[in-house]
Symmetry: C2
Subunit: 361 residues, 2 copies
Amino acid sequence: MARVFNFSAGPAALPEDVLKQAQAEMLDWQGSGMSVMEMSHRGKEFMSIAAEAEADVRELMAIPDNYKVLFLQGGASSQFAMIPMNLIGKTGKADYFRTGSWSKKAIAEAKRFGDVAVTADREIDGKFTTVPAADGFEVSADAAYLHYTPNETIEGVEFPYVPETGDVPLVADMSSTILSRPVDVSKFGLIYAGAQKNIGPAGLTIVIVRDDLVGDPLPGTPAMFTYRTHADAESMYNTPPTYGWYLAGLVFKWLKAQGGLAGMAAINQRKAESLYRAIDESAFYNNPVDPACRSWMNVPFTLANAELDAEFLKLAGEAGLKTLKGHRSVGGMRASIYNAMPEAGVATLIDFMREFERTKA
Amino acid sequence: MARVFNFSAGPAALPEDVLKQAQAEMLDWQGSGMSVMEMSHRGKEFMSIAAEAEADVRELMAIPDNYKVLFLQGGASSQFAMIPMNLIGKTGKADYFRTGSWSKKAIAEAKRFGDVAVTADREIDGKFTTVPAADGFEVSADAAYLHYTPNETIEGVEFPYVPETGDVPLVADMSSTILSRPVDVSKFGLIYAGAQKNIGPAGLTIVIVRDDLVGDPLPGTPAMFTYRTHADAESMYNTPPTYGWYLAGLVFKWLKAQGGLAGMAAINQRKAESLYRAIDESAFYNNPVDPACRSWMNVPFTLANAELDAEFLKLAGEAGLKTLKGHRSVGGMRASIYNAMPEAGVATLIDFMREFERTKA
C-alpha cells in the first residue's frame, strides 16, 4: 500500500494514525464486539465515546462553560439557514462580510430570512484577495449578529485578526480553519464548522454556541433546524452521525498528542510559510492573495503558462501528490494543507514544483 | 475478537463482510492511496463509488426511471419537515396515519406546515398494536399526499399491505423496513429512510422521490431542505456524507449476493417467524401485537415477571446477545433483526430465552 499526499480541500486527508486506529477497531471497539457504527447512540459505549470527544474538544479550544458544543448534520450549508432562522429574529437584521465564495453563499441564504447588510465587500474586479482592515468596517447597531468567514477555502484568503464587534454577537464559519491554531472562543457568539476539513469525515457539523444565543427561532423553523432542540437533547434529539463523532474524537486525541492547538499552529505556520516562500521565490508560480491575509490552510497558485496545468497535475499525481486542481471558479492549483497534511507532504510538493519549473517552464 | 449478536434498533448491526471490506480499504481504497473518507466528493474515485451505489440500489429495488434517488443527511427527523415543506403546498393539506411513536413524530412536525388530517388513528388504551384494515381508512380528496410508517420500530407494528390511495401520492417512512423485502416503488410518491437500520451508518438518509413531486417548496424553506436543490445537483449541492454513501454501496453489493430482496425476504421471514413462534409457544414471553401486523424487523416482547428484566439483560449480554432492552416507552425487550442479523443470531437468542425461562421463570 502506498499512501499519497492528498491536498483535497475537503473531504480532506485524515491523520494516518487516526485511520489506523479506526481500522483496528472496525469490527470490535475495545472488546465490545461491535463496530462503533453498529452501536446504539443511547448505549453506554457510544455515550462514553461522545462525552469524551466533547470533553477533548472543549479542552483543546478552551471552550467556556457558557457555550454548548453541538454535534449535528448538514454541513455549513445547513448552518447558512440555521443561523438566521435562530438568531436574526431579535432585530430582523444581520451584518455579513463578503470576502469570497463561501461568505457569498452564506449571504444568499441569509437574505431569505431577514435584512442582510453587507458591511464589508472585498470583491475587486471579480476577485477576492483581501479582507477588510481591522478598523475598516462598520458594525450596525441593530444587527442581531455579524457573520464572517475567517478562512475562504476557495480563494485562500484568511483574516489575520478576529473582528471586534462590541455587543453584536460574532458568528464565524470556521469550516476550514477550526483547530488549526488557538482561538479565543469567548470573542464569538457562535462558531460552526463542517467536519470534512480539519475535524473528521463529511456528514458531521460542529456548532459552538453561547447559551444566550440558543433560543428564539423564527416561526416555521423545522425542529431539526432549531438549536434549542439539539442543545436540550445534548445532540441526541435524533440519531447523530455516530461514526463521524467517534472519528472526530480520535482526531481530537491526535491533536492533543501534537501539543494541542499551539503545537499544531507552529506546524501549520511552518508548512504555509515554506510553500508561500517557494511560490514567491519563483517567477513561474504565483499566488494572488495579499500577503497579509494569505491562508495557512488553502494555498491557491497559478502557473505562468496555464497550458501546462494538465501536465503539472498528471506528473504530480504520478509523484503521489493528489487533488491539486484549483477550484473551477479560480483555476490553476490549490494545495489544501490542513492539520493532517504532514510537513513531509508540503516539502515533497515544493520539491516537485521546483523540478517541474526547472524542466518544463 | 468475539463479535456479538447486536439487536440494536438503530444504529444497528452491519454485515460482517461489509465491515471487513471497509476495514481492508480503510487506508487505501483500491490502490488510490486514500481512505474513501479522505476523497473529494467531486473526484473521479468517489464519483464512481457514488454512481455505483445508486445503480445498485436502483437495481435492488427496481426503481423506475421517473424517480430520483437522493443521498442526504439529517435522518427521518429532517424528512418529517422536508416532506410537508416540499409537498404540502399544492393543497395545504395532507393525510397521516397514526400507528405508533414514529408516525406521531411525523404528524407533530407536519402540523407546523399545513393542515394535517389523521385519517387512521390506531392508539387504543395508550398502545399501538394494530394497523388499519386495507379498506378501513379514508383518503381526503384534497390531500397533497398521504403519509404512513410501514413499520413502527418502537412498537413492532408493520403494515402487511401497501395502502391504496388513488391519485393522492403515498409517502412512506421506510427507515426500518427498506431493503428487507421487494416492494413496488411505483405505488409510492416518496420513500425515505434513515440509513442506520437496514442501509449503513447513521448520518445518511435516502429519499426516493417521483419526478413530479420534487418541486414547489413553501416560502422560507432552506435550500438544504429543498428536494429540488439536491435533485438538480445529484446529491452534491454540498458535501454529502461520503463515507456513509460508500458503506451503503457495500451493503447493496452484499444484498445482491444474498439473492437480492427476494432472497433477503425469505431469510427475514424465517427469522421473524421462528422468534414469534418461540414467544407464542411460551407462557413466559409475550408479544402484544396483532399477529396480522407483526413486524419482521422489530420484535418487542415482555417477560411474565418484569422484575426479571434486569437479570435477563445481564445474562443475555454475557451470552453475547446485546442491546435487547425495549424502548423506554414500551418496556420489556426488543429484538431488532434487520437484514444484517444472521439467522444464527436469532437461533441463539431463542435458545437463550428457552434456557432463561427454564431456569428462572
